[in-house]
Symmetry: C2
Subunit: 411 residues, 2 copies
């Protein structure tokens, strides 16, 4: 029997009282159209069922009365960075306070109707924003199945997994500016594609637009430049996890990536889910969150599930990733985003991107009767994931994005 909240939470909700994921939102203004003059300030919140609890209101009402949060302004900020910097004891205090406030037998919020009205907003009435200011975004390459498949496709059957891969978690720096929140539309990128045969490289909208199913850790307290974070302390530097779609243009990537790695084939957009699920909420599930990707093809109402994968398919753990990242003295900052890399499993229906699923466009993908290889304009990619245990789920919500056509010269 799970914990009971006075807020109604359906049995299949991603956000029961056991979860309490953190995000940043803005109430939609009256009328809800783009011409509205009042733009509300972004502020932190947590999800409970189909509602968002406004932490700035709870904080201003003096309900965070523990030693770490009593005098803190961390919930009167437009991002979670300050809260994340404060570390695990503060996070635990916040979680305990919020779980108590929302529980069925605690009257302080339940019976205060004006405060409830002010602090509990239907999810449909808010706009979710990036939860953190992301100083740097790093993307790892930690699924062995994905690594092997990419090696086979890009370099051929000889040594598909390079010798360094088993010795260290391979990673590259990603682009922080183009990380966007779920729901943001992604414009098909243009660029130079890999030459086909002896032709010169072509230029134009990518012909191989792909998603990548990933998760990402959000960094809590950082470290000073020149000092590393020990593997035994790495856990305390990770606040929680989100879903991540590392959109990729495979023809651009294949041409540009030697010798310095992916650049424009990735930097046109990276989507994350809005709710950061804390490691505390995930603890009872050890390492078992399955995830799935659906594609809703352009012009269709129904989305098809095209792959199901699992976090357990990572060879290198997120604490190993974080410790490795700092071993050279590189400084992490609160809010930094560490992507796991595409999470592929061993079976055909657990591959984490279209490059693998279609084997670089050789095999077609069937979607509600139609078929295609890479993403088409108008397609919507929807990633969801949750941990399922006994009588409740810990869910990540969704990480979604729709493909817009490439811009043309006249735009």
């Amino acid at each position: 029997m799970g914990l009971k909240s006075f807020v109604d939470v359906s049995a299949d909700s991603h956000f029961p009282l056991e979860n309490i994921p953190f995000g940043v939102f803005r109430p939609k203004t009256a009328g809800g159209d783009d011409h509205s003059l009042v733009v509300e300030t972004p502020r932190p919140g947590v999800a409970i069922g189909d509602f968002v609890l406004d932490l700035s209101v709870i904080s201003s009402a003096g309900l965070f009365d523990g030693p770490f949060l009593k005098k803190s302004q961390c919930f009167n900020q437009p991002s979670l960075n300050l809260f994340l910097e404060m570390g695990r004891p503060t996070w635990k205090e916040a979680r305990a306070t919020i779980q108590k406030l929302l529980s069925a037998d605690e009257p302080s919020l339940r019976d205060n109707l004006s405060l409830r009205k002010k602090s509990l907003l239907p999810m449909n009435d808010v706009e979710m924003l990036l939860p953190v200011v992301i100083g740097d975004y790093t993307d790892f390459f930690c699924s062995m199945y994905h690594t092997k498949n990419c090696g086979l496709i890009f370099r051929g059957p000889e040594d598909p997994i390079l010798p360094n891969w088993f010795h260290l978690p391979v990673a590259y720096h990603g682009r922080a500016s183009s990380v966007v929140i779920s729901g943001t539309k992604i414009t098909r990128p243009r660029g130079q594609g890999h030459p086909i045969g002896s032709s010169p490289p072509y230029f134009g909208p990518t012909k191989k637009l792909d998603f990548e199913l990933e998760m990402a850790a959000i960094v809590g307290p950082g470290n000073k430049l020149g000092k590393n974070i020990d593997i035994n302390e790495a856990y305390d530097h990770i606040f929680g996890l989100v879903l991540l779609n590392d959109w990729s243009a495979r023809d651009i990537q294949a041409w540009e990536y030697v010798p310095l790695g992916p650049f424009l084939g990735k930097s046109f957009g990276t989507t994350i889910s809005p709710w950061i699920v804390t490691l505390e909420a995930l603890e009872p599930f050890a390492c078992d969150p399955p995830k799935q990707v659906r594609i809703k093809p352009a012009g269709q109402e129904q989305a098809s599930v095209i792959t199901k994968s699992n976090f357990k398919h990572l060879y290198w753990t997120i604490t190993q990733q974080l410790a490795h990242h700092t071993i050279n003295g590189c400084n992490l900052r609160s809010g930094d985003l560490l992507g796991t890399g595409t999470i592929s499993g061993p079976e055909q229906d657990s591959l984490g991107c279209l490059l693998e699923i279609t084997w670089n466009g050789k095999n077609k993908l069937s979607l509600n009767g139609s078929s295609q290889t890479f993403l088409e304009d108008g397609d919507e990619v929807i990633i969801t994931g949750c941990c399922e245990g006994g009588d409740y789920k810990i869910g990540f919500g969704t990480c979604a994005g729709k493909v817009l056509p490439a811009i043309t010269e006249n735009q």
Copy 2:
């Protein structure tokens, strides 16, 4: 005959009235020790001779009276980002106003002794800080000589320059958090080095610590995600240039860089010079700023010049770099840093890093009588650069950093 300021500027100064480079500084507090209680706020300034003009004081005194700056708070900020975002018309207005205020025949500052005392500070009395908040740092690979030498060293004589290189400016995302200002000490990084022969990879302090002589463009106004910046408009999105030392650990880099590019071999520190020299100041020199690197070996008083290179050795220009960076819709933000990559020339004494100068440690470097291959603990690397024309110089000042020993397990 150059422009004449009422501030004394020596003939060999990097900072005559024609230059007016922008930076951010903090007055050193009385006593100047670390125990001082008063920490002054960072604020924008420009360099003139051996002085810094405090733009926050000039702005508060109402001396920026042009249409763009009259009501702006851009000089009452701890970084230049807001000013950079305002674009070239504002930059031109600022430059014209400052050049007029500092000129020998303009009385408004010259004859106002209390304002002069408040606004003109000896350079020795200020601490220079990072001039911008760097959202993303990108490093290009634009010198053909450097590219060819790296290819020969890392991959051998077959195709040292890969086929994509002549078609697009190859680049990778760097680490923004570890960009530091000139003078910051750099701790020797630890990591896994490339295996030698059939041995397993070793772990420890890098044995191949290197500098890289680069320049970097600082982005002015950015672009929206999904829209590109046309090559014909790229110039207006670049505010100016700094010197950059992209410290590199060659043994770590050689092992980790396939297939995703350099990561920990670079992310432990990148040093930039504090003064951003504007494109306006550089215009009379078209493309000719020579640069040199000196190394002051540990324990020695004298620094030796070890290489002289030139900005003209870039195959791809900075406007081509910027236009390429955004062609896929990637958004740049004001303050972004675009490194040129190591600038090597064709001769042995114009190579831009020790990897090339010593041919990966095979040849020794002679420094004031002693000899070494890569950087030793205690060595200080000092990069300087200036444009020399008729009767004045446009200088970049220095980009310097000293190597600290690696941390040990007990630290």
